[in-house]
């Protein structure tokens, strides 16, 4: 393998880590609450702005602001679930999807209204740092993002596997009615799952800030990738979201290298399309996608 190809693969995996980071929260929400939360990208955008302003106004490093933003977004997610999605829990699919789309429109344009369309980036201590062996140096923030994706994946995995709440979340994801009959307060579980999912994307926003610029439509790009990954990995599967993220990162990097970087998105959307149709349960999916 040529040196350049190794670099392409490393970059692809690192990018995949970032994608995985964003998708972990989404797979929880999509897999359990069954809401196609298109506004997940806007949650990311908001958390990036939050992290940006914390740094600009008070000089709080994004890695520190995680401590503020994670709980903040947990509450934010619960409010969104309670205010918007809970009232339409039993409404037809069209209502849920368009409620999410309405939320996208509002959040995206509120950001545009407050912060204009400018690209905003910050320079932190870690921004320019490189680590790794000579010739294969990688940016420290990307590496941290990758590690964070692994830790969140493992954390969530053990949480839903071993705690009572986690088991209740899985049960609710499998069958809402049956969970209700087992004495699980499914509405509360939905609130918690939505909160955790939002909190994850809040963390993702902080970790992306040293790497990317933030602008009002930044989420729109990431959210579609995240959906591809969630479906690829299988609904509600943490490991699936992580592996799926890495696969998409690799596919993107390799197709950029071998074919053309302009078509890389088209390629994974085509993969996504075939996957949806021919392997709708995803790689690690246990829940049927009807």
């Amino acid at each position: 393998m040529s040196e350049i190809l190794i670099k392409v693969v490393i970059n692809g995996l690192l990018m995949g880590g970032i994608y995985a980071l964003i998708s972990l929260g989404l797979t929880l929400i999509f897999g359990v609450v069954r809401i196609v939360n298109f506004a997940h990208g806007e949650f990311l955008m908001l958390s990036m702005y939050a992290s940006y302003w914390l740094f600009q106004l008070w000089g709080i490093d994004p890695y520190v602001s995680v401590l503020i933003i994670a709980p903040l977004f947990f509450v934010f997610g619960m409010i969104v679930q309670r205010g918007i999605f809970q009232p339409i829990l039993n409404a037809p699919e069209v209502s849920k999807i368009f409620a999410a789309i309405g939320l996208v429109m509002v959040l995206q344009n509120l950001a545009l209204l407050f912060w204009k369309g400018d690209y905003r980036a910050i320079k932190t201590i870690s921004s320019g740092l490189l680590i790794g062996p000579e010739g294969f140096m990688i940016g420290l923030p990307r590496f941290i993002a990758f590690l964070a994706a692994v830790s969140i994946m493992l954390g969530l995995y053990f949480f839903i596997k071993n705690t009572y709440t986690g088991k209740a979340i899985r049960a609710t994801g499998q069958d809402q009615g049956a969970a209700l009959l087992m004495g699980i307060n499914t509405k509360r579980i939905f609130l918690i799952a939505f909160g955790i999912g939002s909190s994850c994307v809040g963390i993702a926003g902080c970790l992306l800030m040293p790497i990317y610029s933030v602008f009002p439509t930044v989420g729109a790009y990431f959210v579609l990738v995240a959906f591809v990954i969630v479906v690829l990995g299988g609904l509600g599967s943490m490991l699936g979201a992580f592996i799926g993220g890495l696969i998409i990162g690799l596919v993107e990097a390799l197709s950029g290298y071998f074919i053309s970087s302009t078509y890389k998105e088209a390629i994974y959307f085509i993969i996504f399309w075939f996957l949806l149709i021919y392997k709708p349960t995803g790689l690690f999916g246990s829940v049927s996608q009807e």
Binding site: I84, E93, S95, A99, V106, L113, L224, F227, Y263, E290
Partner: protein, 601 residues
């Protein structure tokens, strides 16, 4: 006759609306206002086109921008490169869109719910990316401009008035098609498959075909809108005409107005688009995107507080208004026309039975079906005579419903075969089998919840009725026959359980089956309802229909059936007349356990 109907408010109010619409381009002098009018009507047309598949068919496409884009690019490219008149290009683009719709729709329709939505979004994104990067043809991000050379054949006009009339024509055309569709076979079939796809299949509806057809029609009209837009703006680029937000807007006007209704998308766009355009015009620079914040907020509020859209809120007021206007007469109740034939449930028997030598309507030979290692149905044989009632009993999990699913084509057998009228029916899908005369009900009822009881049955009657009036007349007869006539105008989901079970039977009977499979139509009914249902099944059988019935209520089975088959763990353990079965030790053992047998000595 026709002339008289013109003086009824139900007719002249829409005509007044149309007249007003036609006068608007002449009355509105300001080009800015006229632009808003044109864009509003264009969205009304696009929303109405989307509504065919999204509203009536219930398949939420968020990829319609592709058809819009194909329309715009096809006509524009043919005009720029070959000088072909955009009028012609518009038609070519529309046909191309239909082809693309067929190719993409066919696999995508296997998906349901959010996954279908995601697949349409992915499709739109792929096209967006291709349009940006295929610079040689599409001009990439730079876009394509059309020279301003006004001429009719160029589809370019020096004032906005002709454009306004063209777009009004487009809207009227789409509305006419939707109106015709709504009260025809296609409209009923789309609503039925939206409400319950399996329930639709067993009524002989080829759901895949009708979804595809609806998508193609929808794509055709969306594409016309795309060409119109290109010729109106004289400039296209992938950020304007091939974007997710355009797909969303088409759906948005329908949802806010009222999804699955004729007038909904029109009301939605008349409400939303001028609002947005005015906000953009007046607040524009200072508050970019404020109109989208308002759109989004309205969308969320509508979805939560009036999920049926604005239409639902004004429908009652409109009816009251109409009833007070001069010339009002209530809608005539269609006079009952008898369908030719002496028997009410005139079946297909006379048509096809007797062409084959065997006296058995259904012969099941050595039939097996495995789920993993479990033999749900194992080597089952039986024969069913014409006009018999066959009971199928056995403990829960014995494989009774699986057997039904095999006969109806929902499952493919792993071994053995099923002969119907002497012919092997392997590989026939449920809707084909229904057309051939095998009807069934579901244990868990599958009503088309948001349609009226009558409309539920009409959807079934289309299986054999060539015309709308015949389907309706047939459905009305059947409703009287099963005793649901009083409830015909209720919404199906509001029926009680016995009512829903009866509706299941009515829907199947409307397809005029030769063989009817009833899956626990009495479960959950009280004693009186059970005896009513028993009488009904006898009546059905007296009409010459062969019946196969799964039931747990033994007294019913014993009094009703000519023959009984007992299944246990997927195997046939007994067969014969009711008296014989009730004394069979193997049957008693299966139901009551070995101990019972021993205790009884």
């Amino acid at each position: 006759m026709f002339f008289k109907t013109l003086f009824r408010p139900q007719i002249y109010i829409p005509f007044l609306g149309l007249t007003l619409l036609i006068l608007t381009p002449v009355l509105v002098k300001s080009p800015f206002l006229l632009h808003i009018v044109i864009i509003t009507i264009l969205y009304a047309a696009l929303g109405s086109a989307w509504n065919i598949i999204g509203g009536y068919g219930g398949q939420l496409s968020l990829g319609h921008t592709v058809f819009f884009g194909i329309g715009a690019y096809t006509s524009t490219l043919l005009y720029l490169k070959f000088g072909l008149s955009p009028w012609l290009g518009m038609l070519l683009g529309a046909f191309l869109s239909m082809i693309v719709a067929a190719i993409v729709g066919y696999p995508s329709f296997r998906l349901r719910g959010p996954f279908f939505v995601l697949s349409t979004i992915a499709f739109g994104e792929v096209m967006h990316i291709i349009a940006i990067n295929w610079r040689d043809v599409t001009g990439g991000s730079v876009g394509l401009g059309i020279q301003f050379e006004p001429a009719f054949k160029n589809f370019i006009f020096s004032t906005k008035v002709p454009y306004a009339y063209i777009v009004i024509g487009l809207l009227v055309l789409i509305l006419a098609v939707v109106t015709l569709m709504e009260k025809s076979r296609m409209g009923y079939y789309l609503s039925a498959l939206r409400e319950n796809e399996d329930g639709a299949k067993v009524l002989g509806i080829n759901t895949a075909r009708y979804k595809l057809l609806a998508l193609m029609i929808s794509a055709f009209f969306t594409s016309l809108g795309g060409t119109f837009y290109a010729q109106y703006i004289l400039f296209i680029d992938p950020y304007d005409i091939l974007t997710l937000s355009l797909s969303i807007d088409m759906a948005l006007v329908s949802i806010i107005g009222g999804i699955g209704t004729i007038i909904g998308p029109v009301i939605g766009s008349f409400f939303m688009i001028p609002l947005g355009e005015f906000l953009r015009g007046t607040l524009g620079g200072a508050f970019r995107g404020i109109h989208l914040i308002i759109y989004g907020t309205i969308l969320i509020l509508v979805v939560i507080y009036m999920p049926q859209g604005i239409v639902e809120k004004i429908r009652k007021k409109y009816r009251v208004l109409v009833s007070k206007l001069p010339g009002f007469r209530p809608e005539e109740i269609l006079s009952l026309r008898m369908v030719p034939g002496s028997h009410i449930l005139q079946t297909a028997n006379a048509r096809s039975f007797g062409e084959h030598p065997t006296p058995f309507l259904l012969e099941v030979q050595n039939l097996s079906k495995y789920f993993g290692g479990l033999a749900a149905v194992s080597c089952v044989d039986f024969r069913l005579r014409q006009s018999e009632i066959l009971g199928l009993i056995g403990p829960n999990g014995a494989g009774k419903t699986t057997l039904f699913n095999l006969i109806c084509g929902f499952y493919a057998p792993d071994d053995g075969q099923i002969l119907y009228k002497g012919k092997n029916i392997e590989g026939f899908r449920p809707h084909i089998l229904c057309q051939k005369g095998i009807g069934r009900t579901f244990q868990i009822v599958k009503p088309f919840g948001n349609m009226s009881v009558l409309d539920n049955v009409i959807a079934g009657a289309y299986c054999r009725a060539p015309k709308n009036a015949i389907a309706r007349a047939k459905a009305e007869e059947i409703l009287k026959f099963v005793g649901l006539w009083e409830n015909r105008n209720l919404i199906a989901k509001s029926l009680t359980l016995p009512g829903k079970k009866r509706l299941e039977m009515a829907k199947v009977l409307a397809t005029q089956p030769d063989l009817i499979l009833l899956d626990e139509v009495m479960a959950g009914l009280n004693q009186r309802e059970i005896s009513d249902a028993t009488v009904l099944i006898k009546k059905i059988n007296e009409e010459g229909i062969t019946v196969m019935v799964i039931e747990h209520v033994m007294s019913v089975i014993m009094s009703l059936c000519h023959q009984i088959i007992v299944l246990h763990h997927g195997e046939k353990i007994a067969e014969g007349a009711p008296e014989k079965i009730s004394n069979d030790p193997k049957v008693i053992e299966a139901y009551l356990g070995e101990e019972y047998l021993i205790a009884r000595g």
